[in-house]
């Protein structure tokens, strides 16, 4: 069993404009009203990098910044775990289109934004962080993989970890084969020890075997959870927002799941 404390959260999705603005909705105390994700360039980035930032970078920086603000920690002080099923899906479509026809002129910016760790790279520049940073993918289990990796960094390395999960839709024709319904990002600041900023704790086990996944009560939020890999973390945010002890199961492919007990602090 791994025990972690939560000092900060960040959220940006359709009709979810920030963690603090969405707590009532997530707790089931206000109606969920879907609206396009409020994507905006981050003021953390220098002008040159801001111009080059695609959707994943906007998502990652927005939710990361919100979580660090709540935690009252400097952005350069935490290790980071980025997780995403896809990376920059607009960019990968553009590169594939360019490579399918002559001349194959992939721009330098397109190429360096194509690496799966582009959001991590931009974050570290913006945050001034020299701490370890990793970038994971586990298809539909990407959120669970990121949370599991973050938990081991906290418990084994005693690190303060910012977990940042994000995904956004592919353009066609890839969208038809891998539909992701909306741009969505969420972040958690995880620590080994409780502080005066701590607002929740989780006890987590990686468990062999399939389990019933915890669903969202609201049909719209449940559709979002199922429609975006990074949004598989929504039940955890919902449990934290409710302020009540609860139990959350998140699938880790068909073979395994994360069994999480959420305790508000």
């Amino acid at each position: 069993m791994m025990r972690l404390f939560i000092e900060g959260a960040g959220l940006l999705g359709p009709g979810l404009d920030g963690w603090s603005a969405s707590r009532l909705v997530l707790a089931g105390n206000a109606a969920y009203a879907p609206a396009p994700t409020n994507l905006r360039p981050s003021d953390m980035l220098p002008a040159a990098e801001r111009r080059r930032s695609g959707v994943p970078i906007k998502l990652a920086l927005a939710v990361g910044q919100e979580a660090f603000l709540q935690a009252g920690r400097g952005t350069g002080t935490a290790a980071t775990v980025f997780t995403s099923s896809g990376g920059d899906n607009d960019n990968v479509h553009a590169i594939n289109t360019i490579l399918a026809t002559a001349p194959r002129e992939v721009s330098p910016t397109r190429f360096h934004n194509s690496v799966h760790n582009a959001a991590a790279g931009y974050w570290c520049i913006a945050a001034g962080s020299h701490e370890p940073s990793t970038s994971l993918c586990a298809h539909d289990a990407s959120f669970a993989a990121g949370l599991l990796e973050s938990a081991t960094q906290v418990t084994v390395d005693s690190a303060v970890v910012a977990l940042i999960a994000y995904d956004h839709p592919y353009p066609e024709p890839l969208n038809a084969l891998r539909p992701i319904t909306a741009p969505f990002g969420m972040a958690l600041i995880l620590t080994l020890r409780q502080s005066n900023k701590t607002f929740g704790a989780i006890e987590m086990d990686f468990v062999s075997g399939k389990a019933e996944e915890t669903r969202m009560q609201d049909a719209g939020l449940e559709a979002l959870r199922c429609g975006v890999p990074a949004a598989r973390g929504l039940p955890l945010l919902s449990a934290l927002a409710s302020g009540k002890p609860s139990q959350v199961n998140i699938a880790y492919f068909n073979d395994n799941h994360l069994n999480i007990r959420v305790v508000p602090c």
Binding site: M2, G76, S85, G86, G87, I95, N96, T97, L99, A100, R104, E105, V106, S107, P108, R110, F111, H112, N113, S114, V115, H116, N117, A118, A120, G121, Y122, C124, I125, G128, S129, H130, E131, P132, S133, T134, S135, L136, C137, A138, H139, A141, S142, A145, L148, E149, A151, T152, V156, D157, P173, L174, A176, L177, R178, F206, S208, F253, D255, N256
Partner: protein
Amino acid sequence: MQPLVISHRALANSLGLGSSATMDALRTRRSGLNPCAFLDVDLETYIAKVEALDRVSVRADLSQYDCRNNRLAQLCLEQDGFADAIVAAKEKYGAARIGVFLGTSTSGILQTELAYRRLDSQTSALPPDFHYAETQNTYSLAGFVCRYLGLAGPSFVVSSACSSSAKVFANAMRMLAAGVCDAAVVGGVDSLCLSTLYGFNSLGLVSRFPCKPYDADRDGISIGEGAGFVLIERATEAKSSDAMFLLGVGESSDAYHMSTPHPEGLGAKLAMQRALDSAGIAATDIDYINLHGTATKSNDASEGNAVAEMFGESVPCSSTKGWTGHLLGAAGITEAIIAILAVEHGFIPGSVNTQRLDPALPIDYRIDNASGKINRVLSNSFGFGGSNCSLVLGRQA
């Protein structure tokens, strides 16, 4: 960190199939680089291609996973008795207690690049034989390896460009320490594709000649493809003095630029120091450094300055990328296995293609091969986005 046993390994790259083929090529100074002949790529450069891949198809029950990257993964899993070792490990630990943590930069993107040439002329749809999750998705590699080996523990792919398959050692270390699994398959696979060839070319980072790491006249990388895997287990019983260990890992971020390393090697120094600290050893305990040494002006200057500051001219160093090419997401695992070979054989690889050392980098860079007692090797892997990882591998003190 608690040292972990590296009990099995497998390699497949342009030097040949199996660890012994790589060892033989290192000894005889046979490079895997050849003039670029890959599909219809029209770039004047050298590449390190795995010719045997043309004759490989993935196991019939996994045909949806068929792509160059997963073929290379399968080819490698069948080398060095690795797949058989996993059968034994499953009996010992159970399939659910063995994790799979792998690195790749581009996974099966070649499959998508080729599919985009065959879009439906009416609907622009991708062809029906294209399988996104099983090929293009970054996780495809781990999904394939889990199924091929019949493993059911935690799995994910790390994709942090050229540090990917070094960083997975750190993931495995933490998963074992946290008790999430009892053993881990760690490794990486990257295969030739147009995205990386044309992408690195657009940045002006690809040499027209075989790459010359740490040469005063170095002018860029040569791209290669390759795969490597190791099985990592806890050191629960007395191991023979021949046992190879993961002794330390260090990770850091440059926070400097997306595609250029920090000029003074700030992130590189942090990663190397953290690896030494993690192993509980000093710089003087390192007997050989396998450098990242991509042969770009900026990488070798940045890394060389960092190594000079930490190790001076007292530790033999080299980059083996003149042999293998730059294996990107498979560089970390390939060079970790080369580090193990160096310890086992008392062998210090030099550097092929390098002719005139850069006088601005005061380190003990070796062009010629040498022999001597080697107990501990530091292996560096640094990637785009300023993602750095250093490993300490070898015998336990």
